[in-house]
């Protein structure tokens, strides 16, 4: 193990390490902790320039209550869910199929198609912006959740294909050959043999795509406009415009907007990290 395990170090070093750990974490999360403190302060504290002192009263419930009851926030959150969940399902379905095709079969265009997905996945969004916006307008889907979902599915399929294909490559190929000898149809091999083995990849990608899409801001601004279709990342800016200089509410709103992917991460940590490392670091 590198670096040398701390248990093998002198006692003094161990204690220093133990003490340093929480301190380092505190420093690392400092900007975030500040926002959390803001979100439980009463608005009056900001008027009295009591920014960093002890909150004059605990107003956590009032502030978060206002976010949920008196603003458009619940609506934006719902929009985010309605955009994120279909996208996850759609691109997992598409990329399980493309990944299967590219991972199992040998045919001439295989590597080219694979590289097309990979390359497309790295492209800067801006080169797609004008044509995609135009296409969405032409389809009559501008400022709808569907328009946003369709684009997200298409774009995330690139990344997911890369992931799925590499994952399928690592499965024992003998299984598929055995099934073929038995005369099992190819689509049945996909459905009954390969798909059950891909569960870890499906889980990892679901969590990852969920986070990516939930946190997307650029496309939300390009393809949607109002509270009826905008996700929470874009909604938070109008929320902030509504509560300009009400830092306690803006902080509470930001935390609410950030929470779902955080919850997702803590619940599905193992899958999340497996997804991030792309399976390339085994």
């Amino acid at each position: 193990m590198f670096p040398t395990p701390i248990e093998k170090q002198p006692r003094a070093a161990q204690l220093t390490y133990q003490a340093f750990l929480p301190l380092a974490l505190l420093l690392w999360l400092l900007p975030l902790i500040a926002v959390m403190i803001f979100s439980i302060k009463p608005g009056a504290d900001f008027g009295n320039a009591n920014y960093w002192g002890w909150p004059s009263s605990f107003e956590g419930f009032t502030n978060y209550g206002k976010v949920f009851l008196e603003s458009q926030m619940p609506r934006y959150l719902l929009n985010s869910v309605l955009i994120t969940v279909p996208t996850v399902i759609g691109c997992i379905a598409l990329s399980a199929m493309t990944g299967f095709a590219l991972g199992i079969y040998r045919f001439r265009a295989n590597l080219w198609i694979f590289f097309m997905f990979v390359a497309g996945n790295f492209v800067p969004f801006q080169i797609l912006m004008v044509p995609v916006r135009d296409l969405t307008l032409d389809l009559g889907l501008y400022n709808t959740k569907t328009g946003l979902v369709l684009f997200h599915i298409a774009f995330q399929t690139g990344f997911c294909t890369l992931f799925m294909r590499n994952f399928i490559r690592q499965l024992p190929f003998e299984l598929i050959e055995a099934a073929r000898v038995e005369g099992v149809a190819e689509w049945r091999i996909f459905w009954f043999v390969v798909l059950p083995l891909m569960k870890p990849a499906l889980a990892a990608l679901s969590v990852l795509v969920f986070t990516f899409i939930w946190n997307d801001y650029f496309w939300a601004v390009v393809l949607t406009q109002g509270a009826e279709s905008q996700p929470v990342t874009a909604g938070i800016t109008s929320f902030n415009a509504q509560y300009r200089a009400a830092y306690h509410l803006m902080s509470a709103g930001s935390i609410v907007a950030a929470l779902p992917p955080v919850a997702m991460f803590f619940l599905m940590q193992k899958h999340f990290i497996a997804g991030l490392t792309l399976g390339a670091v085994k």
Binding site: M1, F2, P3, P5, I6, A24, W28, L29, L30, P31, A34, V35, A49, W52, S95, M97, F100, A101, L102, Y105, F107, L111, I113, F115, M116, F117, A119, G120, F122, V123, P124, F125, Q126, L128, M129, V130, P131, L135, A154, F155, T161, E186, W187, T211, W214, N215, Y217, F218, T233, I236, T237, Y247, S251, S254, A257, A258, P261, V262, T277, V281
Partner: protein
Amino acid sequence: MTQAALPQSTVRKSWWRRNQIAITPYLFLAPGVLFFAVYVIIPIFQSFGISLQDWDGLGQPTYVGFENYRELGNDPAFYTSLKNNVWWLLLYLLAIPAGLGIALFLNQTVTGIRIYKSLFFFPFVISQVVVGLVFTWFYDPAFGLLNVMLGWFGAGPINVLGDPRYVTFGIILAGLWPQTAYCMILYLTGLNAVNPEQIEAGRLDNAKGWRMLWHIVLPQLKPATFIAFVVTIIGALRSFDLISIMTQGGPFGSSRVLSFYMFEVALSEYGFRMGYGAAIAVVLFLIMLCFIAYFLFSMYREERR
């Protein structure tokens, strides 16, 4: 009756049987490739086309040849954005050594270390919009924690986001926060897989600290470093959210990067100049293309092995 029907069906079945393996991959690829082509591949080429036009997004586009690119050459805002993009690319790479440093710091087995690892990773999971807001307040000249802390040392106050000299670096620092967390998790996973026998062998040969890191550990972390490099470069060139949230490109356009300037030209109140925007996007794309070519080449070499 049955005899008449049977041969026919076996003929059809055997045709499908014979060609099943050749056809199936295309059937499985069709929906994904179709979607990807319509929304990603074709738009790239369309953007090239639009960059040769003068178009407000609504009326008839007029073909103007390379006029947009000529205008770019004389546009000081374009050069500011380009210069900032270079800063982003260079400084964003600091996330890699910083991530490695934190990973080494956390690669221990004391009690509760798993929670520490998750909490250090935290910033990456939060949306960049929230990161932007958090840092905007952190930098705030009136009440931001940064200036409170500078005050302890008798320095400041600095208005980081209001000063053209510091603004880009302030935003890059905000971006480094989640990016470092990402690199950290890549290295933590990589460190898990480092061969303990080689480490022990190195210890016997009296390799310690830096030499051990450089000669024995880092070579084994190469796959992690490659991914960290790829995602950091892409992240640097995609930087849009933070700039949009923290400064809107200001003050006086001094924190623009190509991705933000393109958006501003094409879709903001300054007017809908789709052609000019597309030309900026093409430049950004060409910069990215150098890296994409390198990534693909590396992956291609891996595939061949």
